[in-house]
């Protein structure tokens, strides 16, 4: 019997906003034309997609022709990295970090197999990449730097302005995986020397399975696959129309509330962090200030993450251990290892990620429930010395 439901896994995915669903519905009902069709039904839908593209571009400070809709953050990352690598006349060098999402890291591994060299930069104990390390890593044949705007597990914001500036100074393309940041903090490609940026709708109260790649005009990439002429041939296939409409609507709404939401979530976040740190042997992972407004990542020593998650779940609290994608796996998260946590501490880490529907009562509820959970699991644990 659950008392209530407190969803604190917004870093994994977010609920679709009602207004977003409303915007999508016509495209699951009457407006069913194929946007490539010449007839009225097709042209209406084409117009709606164009509008979604304009909204997306507007929020990012981009030109609509620089927005390419994809099936999500994973595809956007793959498209940017592989697409750029395939445009190179010969194998070259890529710089990324050791804490990127798998959708960047594993592509880099592939590219290594294809003959490119990749530098995986380390991070400090807060999860920050040092721009000086980026500069030091630049080789004469470095053609791409890919550094995420914020880490999905520990929430650390990266100095992408500095890194992008370095990239530009050296004539190197700069990609940022901004999946965790778009819709949460302002991102404007006019202020930032970014050549491409990945985003995913389901992280900002849009639908799952749709994302976008911003690609600065003039930057050339090879598509991942071929077919029709949709998305200017960069991403062929009949468009996920309701998804794209949902993305545009969700992004516009999210962008409008950023200033308010940042403040609101930051305050909730810090309350939760403060409360959690009152429990003995709890450490905060990630940077104390330079972190996503809604991200809280802590390690509970002596106990194991899944059992904490399960206990929370039994109280109606949804959180995650590590990233959603890797929580099915048994290995400690590569991010937590990279910030220097030993395996056991990494295994005891939990991410609470807040979203627009969380409130103070949620924070109180979590704090009320987590204390006895930790106590009980520690009682069971042979690692915890009670004396």
């Amino acid at each position: 019997m659950k008392n209530r439901l407190v969803y604190m896994d917004n870093g994994a995915t977010t609920p679709v906003r009602e207004e977003v669903l409303e915007a999508m519905l016509p495209f699951l009902q009457d407006q069913y034309g194929n946007p490539s069709s010449l007839h009225t039904q097709g042209r209406e839908v084409r117009r709606a997609i164009d509008e979604a593209r304009e909204k997306t571009a507007c929020v990012l400070g981009a030109d609509p022709a620089e927005i390419f809709f994809t099936s999500g953050g994973t595809e956007s990352n793959n498209l940017a990295l592989r697409g750029t690598a395939r445009k190179q006349a010969s194998a070259g060098h890529i710089i990324t970090s050791g804490i990127e999402h798998h959708a960047v890291l594993e592509v880099c591994h592939d590219l290594e197999n294809e003959g490119h060299r990749v530098t995986y930069l380390p991070v400090d104990r807060f999860g920050r990449i040092d721009p000086a390390a980026v500069e030091a890593a630049i080789a004469p044949d470095t053609f791409l730097i890919s550094i995420m705007a914020a880490n999905n597990e520990v929430g650390t914001l990266q100095p992408i302005l500095e890194i992008g500036t370095l990239a530009r100074e050296h004539g190197i393309l700069f990609h940022t995986d901004a999946v965790q940041v778009v819709g949460q903090r302002p991102v404007n490609v006019n202020d930032l020397p970014i050549d491409y940026l990945s985003l995913s709708a389901h992280k900002f109260n849009g639908p799952k399975g749709v994302g976008a790649l911003y690609k600065r005009k003039g930057v050339k990439i090879t598509p991942l696959y071929r077919g029709g002429s949709q998305e200017r041939k960069l991403r062929p296939g009949t468009e996920n129309v309701p998804g794209i409409i949902g993305l545009g609507q969700a992004l516009e709404l999210a962008a409008a509330e950023i200033p308010y939401k940042m403040e609101y979530l930051t305050s909730l976040r810090d309350q939760l962090i403060e409360g959690l740190l009152k429990i003995e042997d709890v450490i905060l992972n990630g940077h104390p200030q330079e972190r996503l407004p809604g991200n809280i990542n802590v390690s509970f020593k002596y106990i194991e993450g899944e059992s904490i998650l399960l206990s929370l779940d039994l109280q109606g609290i949804a959180a995650s251990s590590g990233s959603a994608c890797s929580s099915g796996s048994l290995e400690p998260s590569h991010v937590l290892s990279a910030i220097g946590l030993d395996q056991q501490t990494a295994h005891g880490s939990i991410r609470f990620s807040l979203g627009r529907y969380n409130n103070e009562a949620d924070i109180e509820y979590v704090l009320e429930k987590i204390t006895p959970i930790v106590e009980k699991l520690r009682q069971i644990s042979p690692l915890h010395k009670t004396d």
């Binding site: 194991e304 059992s307 399960l310 048994l330 295994h347 009682q379 069971i380 644990s381 042979p382 690692l383």
Partner: protein, 127 residues
């Protein structure tokens, strides 16, 4: 993911803790996922008179520990030695395939405890 019985044993595990007067203690651990288990047994007349456990690990590991201790309490050492990890998983009504290795810990720790007991107290025992 977990069935009700597993969740039940996880939420209200039986026989948690240490036995200060244990006759033997067995440990087991998974290098892969870091799970660790300690089993304390009190033996009387060749039977497990009391048993307690401590487990660091996931829900499956904790539930298996609880289940196992329930299963072997009052059993002879021989009977207890015959209880396999699969028996524990079965008694729990099944575990997710990915989690089967966690239930492996419980019986292992118990068997270690019993083997150690016998090595020390049963002069004609050989593993």
């Amino acid at each position: 993911m977990y069935n009700e019985k597993v969740v039940d044993h996880f939420s209200n595990p039986c026989n948690v803790g240490e036995l200060t007067d244990a006759d033997s203690i067995g440990e087991s651990g998974s290098f892969k996922c870091g799970d660790t288990m300690k089993i304390f047994i009190k033996v009387e007349d060749g039977r497990i008179e009391n048993i307690k456990f401590q487990t660091y690990g996931c829900g499956a590991a904790i539930a298996s520990s609880s289940m196992l201790t329930e299963m072997v309490k009052g059993k002879t050492l021989d009977e207890a030695m015959h209880i396999t990890n699969q028996n524990v998983a079965d008694e729990l009504g099944g575990l997710p395939p990915l989690k089967l290795h966690c239930s492996n810990l419980a019986a292992d720790a118990l068997h270690n405890a019993i083997a150690d007991y016998r090595r020390r107290l049963e002069p004609d025992y050989t593993d």
